[in-house]
Amino acid sequence: MSDRNQNERNNKVVVPIGPQHPSLKEPGSFKITLDGEKVERAVVEIGYNHRGIEKACESRNYIQALYIIERVCGICSHAHTLCFCQAFEELAGLEVPRRAHYIRGIVGELERLHSHLLWLGVAAHEIGFDTLFMYTWRDRELVLDLLARIGGNRVNYGVNTYGGVRRDLEPELMQDILHVCDLLEEKLKYYADLALTETTLIARLKGIGVLTPDDVRKYSAVGPVARAAGIEGDVRVAEPYGVFKEIAVNVITDDHCDVYGRTLVRVKEMLEAIRLIRIMVAQIPEGPISVRAPRKLPVGEVLSRVEAPRGEDIHYIRSTGTDMPDRVRVRAPTEANWHGMSHMLEGFQLADVPIIIAAIDPCYSCTDRAIHLIGDGINQLTDWAQIRALSIEQYKSRGIDPGSIKVREF
């Protein structure tokens, strides 16, 4: 209370953003101390999405763990499984067929397209540009439909498996991928043009959320946040994996160091992803799509990394020679970008807070990973009953007796 009085005397307000707030798509809490409209101090509290995925993996065999890992994040589900599969394959000494590498590459780049389009929409929504939000999400549907056809689901594609991929790409599907690439390229060029010319967009994005190259080094930011500060941190180039051993990636960097730079990097990265998909579809070799994988891993530990849409994703597996991992540790890309968040927020206006938070493309689930994975089914029912009992009590206190009304039991 005294704290509050002090704040009031100094004309300071503490604005809680989250855990529930329209600008946050997942729960996270930001306590913003305001001086007028200016952010003076920002405290980041995360951890609302801790689901215990790492613990869950320890009590499951590798095949089960793969699907748990896929659900670390809804958007970069492919990147996480790819990273996990790579770690497994490295430890098991598996040689993945070339065709599988290509299919993984295509899905990975499609995922990058879908993730960045999603980001562009969310960012546009945060700054109140709902029309752009609708357009990008409409175009994202094209990619999602493709991914649904390739993997069999819109979000958790389940394409990867140990030693290869689960589904092959038919020639017809590859034609459709190229077709969608053509459609999207035209639209993306339009958005890139828009980002460069639209006054209100530039006014809202330029010069806010600055993270200079020195800050990037200090807080070890990854992905588009680092690349927007001109630092070439791309795992696809630094440590080429899979298909990127054969196909060179142009790393997109920008020197704005702010949210605008991150926008430009992401838009240009989408164009680059389209270029890569075209090359991959043209060069995809014939052959098997997977090799048989063992159920048990030899003793050892491995670190594997992949360039997820949001940045560098690192997985650690330690095996004790059984069919269950001894320890799994997922360092999701967003986790690396949180450290600089307070620094990015401080000194800017309250109006900039949502877009600065959105600019790192935060994935709270990724950061927090996993405690209770499997509901026991009873919770839900008791909760319903409790809610109903409470509401009956409430109505009774107001002189109405709804208990006599027969409600269909849900």
Binding site: V13, I127, Y135, R204, L350
Partner: protein
């Protein structure tokens, strides 16, 4: 006597205002949706939303001053209704036309904004307080260019009555072209007055969760929503009367023209709303004070000179 009561209450007064506000809100939402390549709401959606809101429970914050909390929505709705009565809809003269009603309308239209501010301040909640102060800040930004933009055509016409101005430009339709710059200014300032994109920083959903009205619920929120859409209708009507006054002299044809003109103005507003990002409150201030105010001021001077020069 009976006729004037009918005029005030039913047509072209309050009932018409209500019905037409729903129509304009539907147009606003539907066109906005179609521009975003969405399907958009069915025609009865605005009415359904309103009825649903009215049926909801009202929750009054514990710290709020109860009477003020309940009175503000009604006051703001009443002010907008009163303003609408001064605008010519059927025929060339409004229901209540008098010398100086333009100024009265301007002040009446300020009341909802002040009510928003008071509502936000009275809610004693951090988001609503920030929203309230943003509302007030924005009001200081747009009031000056808005007043000057509304007064410029009046100066040229030499009358302070909206019906009089409309009548003047009906005789001299080409003079409306002179007012084109202030027309654009007034479109932008009305957008800001209505707290719509790109000037909706006071209620920015993704920053301060709806701003001043965040604690409002139930029928009080419904009244505020009603105020917003009635304000849209009133402002569109005023703009139509001031800047697009073409008259045929036949009452029903004028009414059709009035509908067409307000439609066009609302469409322009939707286009503004659909194609821009929300700009920050400091940018709004800068934009209004450094760009729109000089334009409006210049126009006023030009109109004064023209009035003298043309010898009207």
């Amino acid at each position: 006597m009976l006729l004037s009561i009918f005029n005030v209450l039913v047509f072209p007064g309050l009932l018409f205002l209500g019905a037409y506000s729903f129509v304009l809100e539907f147009v606003d939402r539907k066109v906005y949706a179609r521009m975003q390549s969405r399907k958009g709401p069915p025609w009865y959606q605005p009415l359904a939303d309103m009825l649903k809101l009215i049926g909801k429970k009202v929750i009054v914050p514990r710290n709020a001053q109860k009477f003020l909390f309940a009175a503000l929505p009604t006051v703001s709705l009443a002010a907008v209704c009163a303003a609408f009565l001064c605008v010519p809809v059927w025929g060339a003269t409004a229901v209540t036309a008098y010398q100086g009603d333009l100024v009265a309308v301007l002040y009446l239209l300020t009341i909802p904004t002040l009510c928003h501010f008071l509502a936000g301040y009275n809610s004693h909640e951090v988001y609503s307080t920030i929203g309230a102060f943003r509302t007030l800040t924005q009001m200081f930004a747009y009031e000056v260019p808005l007043f000057m933009a509304f007064l410029s055509p009046a100066i040229l016409a030499g009358t302070w009555s909206i019906s009089g101005i409309a009548a003047f430009y009906a005789v001299h339709p080409l003079y409306t072209l002179i007012n084109l710059p202030v027309f654009i200014v007034s479109l932008l300032t009305s957008q800001s007055k209505l707290e719509r994109m790109p000037f909706d920083a006071p209620e920015a959903e993704t920053e301060i969760v709806g701003g001043a009205l965040v604690e409002y619920s139930g029928r009080y929120l419904a009244y505020f929503r009603g105020t917003a859409i009635a304000e849209l209708t009133a402002i569109a009507s005023v703009l139509a009367a001031l800047y697009l006054p073409f008259f045929t002299g036949i009452a029903w044809l004028d009414f059709v023209l009035y509908l067409a003109k307000t439609f066009v103005i609302v469409l322009m507003m939707v286009l503004l709303r659909a194609t821009m990002a929300r700009i920050r409150i400091d940018q709004t201030l800068k934009f209004f004070w450094s760009i729109l105010t000089p334009i409006a001021m210049l126009q006023m001077i030009v109109n004064l000179l023209l009035r003298g020069g043309l010898g009207l």
